[in-house]
Chain length 145, copies 2
Amino acid sequence: MFKHILVPVDGSINSFAALDKAVGLAGLTGAVVSILTIYRHHSLLEASLSMVRPQDPRRFDDVMREYAKEIAEKAKAHALAAGAAEVHAFVRNGAIARGIVAFAKDREVDLIVMGGRGVGSAENYMLGSISHKVASLTQRPVMIV
Amino acid sequence: MFKHILVPVDGSINSFAALDKAVGLAGLTGAVVSILTIYRHHSLLEASLSMVRPQDPRRFDDVMREYAKEIAEKAKAHALAAGAAEVHAFVRNGAIARGIVAFAKDREVDLIVMGGRGVGSAENYMLGSISHKVASLTQRPVMIV
């Protein structure tokens, strides 16, 4: 029924709840699980608005990439511990919703499982808006957990 | 993993595609499938805006209810033919998204599978907006097909 399930993971509790559902579905269907963590490019504008102004913007990007890698690897370990047979972790940068949709298309994903709505925090609100954006932009099934 | 899957069906091709996915998931998980068709109350305002002005608004409601029943029964037959073990069909009236969310809560549904985005027709656009509204209003997993 599903061969390739994509789970965008940002390190939040919601994204790990989505990962658990995806692992469960992978167990039932034999699907491969791909974990995708996307970080935004560091922009000079954002740097100029922040209290800390890094000397070298590229170094800031490196820090972001390392952090994203750490989240993706932690999620992969979590999925394997939960019983997933085959898990791959990916890190990308750029626009989050569009990056998820592009990855799903490139890799022929047949289900995207995402953390969704939450309990009203700003973080969860954003997550919800990303899952809605993904569902609007892709033709593939999206499960919002 | 899922015990009770709800599929709101409005008779559209998208809603039947969602039903097929739900039946597939029910086969894997042993879940019961509930089909829900919701029709809107006939309002006097809408009647006054329409070309046809029925003599008796309650009769108009009856026609809507019969049509909704027909859709729900057709969907139930479709699900059984597709191999679903246990299927129930329900008809309700009122606000569509809120009706779906209330049903899911009352019946302890653990997954809602809905037809989602389409190819740009007004009908599909509306469907998409309903699935987004449902995902925003419920705490339960929603799969948009």
